[in-house]
Amino acid sequence: MNETAKYALSVDAISINYEHKKVLNQLSLNVSDNEILCLLGQSGSGKTTVLKAIAGLLPLQQGSISVGGQRLSSVKTIVPPDKRGIGIIFQDYALFPHLSVLDNICFGIKETKQQAEFAAKALLELVKMEGYGSAFPHELSGGQQQRVAIARALAIKPKVLLLDEPFSNVDHHLRQQLMADIRQILKQRSVAAIFVTHNKAEAFVFADKLAFMEAGKVVQTGTAQSLYLQPCSAALAESMGEGNWLNVVVVDQYRTLSNDLGEITSTEPHGIDVGQNVRQFIRPNQLSFAIDGSGQGKMIDQVFNGDHHICTIVVGQMILIINQPLSQKISVGAQVSITVLAHTAMLFDG
């Protein structure tokens, strides 16, 4: 038993060039059995290329890809897509427009026509589309088409399922339900999955584990919480949610000094050399403020966000975004003092 056999899917240091540009640069990632991994990253970071490589649609210049310990792609050989047992779901559903819903699903089922139709009907029930078997794709809504696409992808009993921005074209009010349903189906059937998105809200809801891509590499893998609170790069910090950038000087292993906010203390040591000039990232919910006639800040704007108010506060030359609980009723124009709440510091080079 080799190292890769521990995982449902193992991508080992793959590189892919496209038109003399390195799209993937020695990228590695592993997905355990029954795990949903979300691949996050800005557009152009190579997310879709990873899925295409796993599906066997692209050749590798370096590295290998294994499913259940069996090597499917290497530099020399590629098992063709139809023999890999990997299902794929696209943003635009990609249903076969000339075939009924039932026929769309039946293709992947290698049994007699009768058995295939029986299995396809069971899959339609699973994705809550029973009764739509004879409909054609163009007669269905986006959400319904995506449900059919899920059924079609599951028909081949995939060991791994790939989802490329599957919820982007689904109406917002249907999205939550669709995500919950699909997640439940994947868990029920113990299918490992990789899910690509640029929407962090979808990642938080749908995935067990997140991997962030930057310049053709996975730079950090972990839970949503760890990527949100301890991002390893500035791009990741910003991708996971809004925040404020402060120029600070490192005072000691816990403390940094900001011109406008004074000393900021981290709950964990940050590991950066004393005296260094760095940029500190603080999320809007890691700051608070109170009315203070002699305070250093002034509120200049306030936006209602359902859960809280998003307030814009000017401090010296700097503009800070800070969340205000709905119970706190400070309005625009107020003079305020700012407090940094206890958190682990996020510090990045220049």
Binding site: K52, L57, P80, I88, F96, F136, I156
Partner: protein, 223 residues
Amino acid sequence: MDWQAFEVSIKLALLTSLTLLPIGLGLAYLLANSKFFGSVLLEAVITLPLVLPPTVLGYFLLVGLDSTSFFGGLFFSLTGHTLAFSFTGLWFASIIYSLPFAVQPMLRAMETIAPEIREAAWCSGLSKWKTFFKIELPLALPGVLTAMVLSFSHTLGEFGVVLMIGGNIAGETRTLSIAIYDSVLAFESAQAQSMSLILLAIALASIMIVFTFNRSRSRVVRL
């Protein structure tokens, strides 16, 4: 009315469009799915007969099919027949002459199929061949039908090339369009008129068949 010429024309048009079906499909698939070195040149060469004067094309074919040329010589040594001034030579020339009319509609139809459709089919367990016959070909069917009808009617109406390489041998290379020309030269205007009307009717009917099919289909499948 020259029924013998009519028969030659129909036979030539049918054979040409049927031969162009696999050739056109293969070339269209190749051009639609891969951008390789020289693919622009290949597409340009295929499209060339569209802009070249038929007499120019006919001249080059005449030279190329002559038994002193490599291809014509090879054919002669294999079959004992010459290609120039024969029905087979005419058939071969028509394939080249009508090639753009077959390839272009097929290519345009195949290009409209989203790559994800093909990839989804592969990942659903369909081999490349099965994907082609069960997914891509049915989706490109309007283009394929248009290609067939266009190459049929285009071959039927071909004149310059036929004159250059076919000569005017009754029952062998005299097509309807040549017969019309002959009748006009011989002041047999009634003959010319009836034959022209036949060609007009066939051309109109075939174009209408395509339009009718594509309309009824677009109601079922919205691509």
